[in-house]
């Protein structure tokens, strides 16, 4: 046995000696994306945003001169593939951070990343994974980070806006609020939080209406919605499913103000839904959208040239969010490099190093965020945009935006209190 062990040690030693020769110059990052699976409708723009940003970083000097070696793996939203990818990165590449994606992979990997101390920058904003200590939520998630308001906070902001809107419109009686979504971890994530808050603000909360994450015929749901007399409906699914729902509801003739989850709407979905999407209010993670004016957008446009050299293609909100998440990681890597070297623990410390910070050069686009070692809710401020669609938008998103057929208007910025009883829920 001892001989075998020695052989193993020698072999392992050889392996370790052989690999770092290259690794000194580069920083390894893993990137899980869903380009071909169940959530590809929003996974595609977000993943492209992340991938383009790291290529842009490399073209512009890398991290303090070090190149980022990023491997993008499309895991098709299948957990086993995500785990396999993770093991490869954790062992072979010793990645400094992972750009993650959905609810499925984040929840599956959370135990591993905590054990291996690998910061995980997720695209899943579940409030249950915002507690690094573990006394507020069921599970401690000290290495899970995300950019933007949590699903719950975004939904609360929408509820707050709805309450103000009801007053502003001079509505009489108690307004009615209804949650619409699939019985799925992602869709259900903000349900309880928003419903509780709606009750607090004097809404009557109606029983939730379920519709599947896969697009189908949702006429029955819309008839129920119409009959229920709801005034505000929260759509908790992803874009393709939302499009089907909005179209069916337009046909049925519901008179409801729709509010949507972060991943439930974007410009492309608004174009696909046509006038059915007119008036939907969505939380946007960035302080500006592609056609707005902001100094930081110049960087975004440079990043976009990586995958579209003309630079003229319109990029939806999810692409911008992808860029911002990746740039936060860039700055965290820089800080870690200057303060003790790049490894998982230092990258985590980098996230805590400043308060209310945003990546360099992104003024007016990436919103300032704060992470602390007791609270991973990055922000309590939520920008709300309203979608306006007039007529039949052109099928080309660029033209649809140019002609003004699809428009995004900022209507409010809701400042939520950082309530302790909301942490982890």
């Amino acid at each position: 046995m001892s001989i075998l062990k020695w052989t193993a040690v020698v072999l392992a030693g050889g392996y370790i000696l052989a690999s770092p020769a290259l690794a000194q110059e580069t920083i390894s990052i893993g990137h899980l994306a869903d380009y071909s699976g169940a959530t590809s409708d929003v996974g595609m723009p977000y993943g492209q945003g992340v991938a383009d940003t790291f290529e842009y970083i490399n073209e512009n000097g890398g991290i303090n001169g070090k190149k980022v070696d990023i491997e993008t793996i499309d895991y098709s939203y299948q957990v086993p593939r995500a785990i396999a990818a993770y093991k490869k990165w954790a062992q072979r590449d010793k990645v400094a951070a992972i750009m993650g994606w959905g609810t499925a992979d984040t929840e599956a990997l959370i135990t591993f990343v905590t054990k291996d101390k690998v910061p995980y920058f997720s695209g899943s904003y579940a409030a249950t994974l915002t507690d690094p200590v573990g006394d507020k939520a069921e599970r401690a998630a000290p290495y899970n980070f995300f950019y933007g308001p949590s699903y719950s906070d975004a939904a609360r902001a929408l509820v707050k806006w709805a309450a103000d809107d009801w007053k502003a419109k001079g509505g009489e009686g108690t307004p009615k609020y209804v949650h619409m979504g699939a019985n799925h971890p992602y869709s259900n994530s903000p349900k309880a939080a928003a419903e509780e808050y709606a009750k607090e603000l004097g809404f009557e909360v109606l029983p939730a209406i379920q519709f599947s994450l896969a697009p189908a015929d949702f006429t029955a749901q819309c008839l129920s919605l119409k009959e229920s007399g709801a005034d505000y409906a929260f759509i908790a699914n992803t874009t393709n499913s939302s499009v089907s729902l909005l179209k069916a509801c337009e046909t049925v003739g519901t008179d409801v103000q729709f509010l949507s989850n972060v991943w439930g709407m974007d410009e492309a979905a608004a174009k696909a839904a046509g006038t059915a999407a007119d008036g939907v209010v969505i939380p946007v993670r960035t302080a500006a959208v592609w056609t707005d004016e902001a100094p930081g957008l110049a960087v975004m446009k440079e990043v976009a040239k990586v995958s579209d050299s003309s630079g003229e293609q319109y990029r939806p909100v999810h692409y911008l969010a992808g860029i911002c998440s990746a740039l936060f990681v860039r700055d965290a890597l820089k800080w870690a490099d200057e303060n003790g070297g790049i490894d998982g623990e230092n990258v985590r410390k980098a996230m805590y190093a400043q308060a209310d910070w945003f990546p360099e050069g992104t003024d007016g686009v990436c919103k300032p965020m704060t992470w602390t070692d007791t609270d991973h809710r990055p922000t309590a401020e939520v920008s709300l945009y309203q979608i306006h669609v007039t007529g039949q938008p052109d099928n080309d998103l660029n033209k649809a935006i140019e002609s003004g057929a699809v428009k995004m208007d900022k209507i409010a910025t809701v400042e939520l209190p950082r309530r302790d009883d909301w942490h982890g829920h």
Binding site: L4, K5, A8, L11, Y15, Y35, S36, M44, G47, Q48, E71, I73, D74, S76, Q78, V79, P80, R81, I83, A84, A85, K87, K88, A90, Q91, R92, T103, A104, E107, A108, I110, T111, F112, K115, T128, E138, R139, N183, H184, P185, N188, S307
Partner: protein, 353 residues
């Protein structure tokens, strides 16, 4: 079936031996030793793939018992896998049963559920049965999302790592050994089952159920029993999966996963124990190999001239579909058959007859 010369079977007992020659016995012992040494050499990536092959292989073994040996099609194997995962987590979390016991208990519970959904099997055959299992797929999936007391509802449940007298299998290496024990035991049990009276009855039911019935085999009993046993292994695989991951989510036990199980056994070879494992390995490794290929393609001249970009992801998915179709057209009897042919080729070389 080729047998080495000088090997004469003199009794039925000898005929049903698992390791018939001395060499196969040596090979078995040797492979056990190799198995024990794997974690010392394999990195965690390779180890993870082996672990995946392990727990999926156990479940695929169960499915092959049902489909390959009794000829009943099931399109709902993934939910039984999921049921085992949730059941074990639930038994451990709620009742405090140690994980090492909750895993087999969960497998038993899954077997019971399998028996319930197997009841239509007493009356149905072929496709109608296949569709009944499809119904089980959707009904149980809905149950997972709804039964908060059992699965933790949509937020899923935490599964503690396996602990044996204070020894915690919380690393891949340690888990590998636990899994290896379960894996080898399952292989032995299934192989053994097939040479018993029940095992022969299963095959008889598959080959000609009317003749089987005439020979006094109780069709209903064996058909339902096959469901139970198949679900047992699915549950066992699922429970191991749960405690490996540390967390079970309701996502993932969907029809696509069930279909992957079917692909494993068809590609491996229906009615073959080794085929189940080979097929599982194939289905686990295929996306990885495709990943390497697409990674190699990424940024190469093919990529840049054709402007593939994210297209490589779809090419990979297409290739997976295509490989399955091509495999069925070119090698309909599965990998196990090919393996036997290769063995025969070497044995007979240079005389191919």
């Amino acid at each position: 079936m080729l047998r080495p010369s000088g090997e004469f079977v003199q009794s039925y007992r000898l005929d049903t031996q698992i390791f018939r020659t001395r060499n196969t016995r040596y090979a078995a012992v040797l492979s056990l030793i190799v198995l024990a040494l794997v974690p010392l050499f394999a990195g965690s990536y390779a180890l993870n793939l082996l672990i995946q092959i392990g727990y999926l292989g156990i479940a695929a073994l169960g499915l092959n018992l049902l489909v390959g040996f009794t000829g009943q099609i099931s399109i709902g194997h993934a939910v039984f896998f999921g049921f085992g995962a949730f059941a074990s987590a639930c038994l451990n979390n709620r009742l405090g049963i140690p994980v090492i016991f909750s895993i087999p208990l969960a497998a038993l519970a899954t077997a019971l559920v399998g028996l319930v959904f197997g009841l239509p099997a007493a009356r149905l055959k072929g496709l109608y049965l296949a569709i009944a299992t499809l119904a089980a797929q959707f009904i149980l999936q809905d149950f997972f999302a709804r039964a908060h007391w059992f699965s933790g509802g949509v937020s899923g449940s935490i599964a503690e790592p396996i602990t044996i007298f204070g020894w915690v299998a919380d690393t891949d290496e340690k888990f590998f050994y636990v899994l290896a024990v379960f894996f080898v035991l399952s292989l032995l049990l299934v192989t053994n089952l097939l040479r018993t009276r029940d095992g022969r009855a299963f095959v008889a039911v598959r080959d000609h159920y009317l003749s089987a019935e005439m020979m006094g085999i109780n069709l209903r009993y064996y058909r339902t029993l096959a469901f139970g046993i198949s679900s047992f292994y699915a549950g066992l695989g699922g429970a191991l999966y749960a405690h490996y991951l540390g967390y079970v989510s309701i996502e993932g036990f969907d029809i696509l996963f069930s279909i992957q199980f079917l692909a494993m056994i068809i590609i491996g070879g229906l009615g073959s124990v080794s085929g189940s494992i080979l097929g599982t390995a194939f289905m686990v490794l295929l996306p990885q190999v495709m990943e390497w290929l697409t990674a190699a393609l990424d940024g190469s001249w093919i990529d840049t001239t054709l402007h593939l970009n994210e297209g490589t992801a779809f090419l990979r998915e297409m290739a997976i579909g295509l490989v399955i179709v091509l495999f069925l057209i070119l090698e309909p009897d599965g990998l196990a058959h090919r393996w036997r042919q290769i063995k025969a080729y070497w044995k007979l070389y240079p005389f191919s007859y």
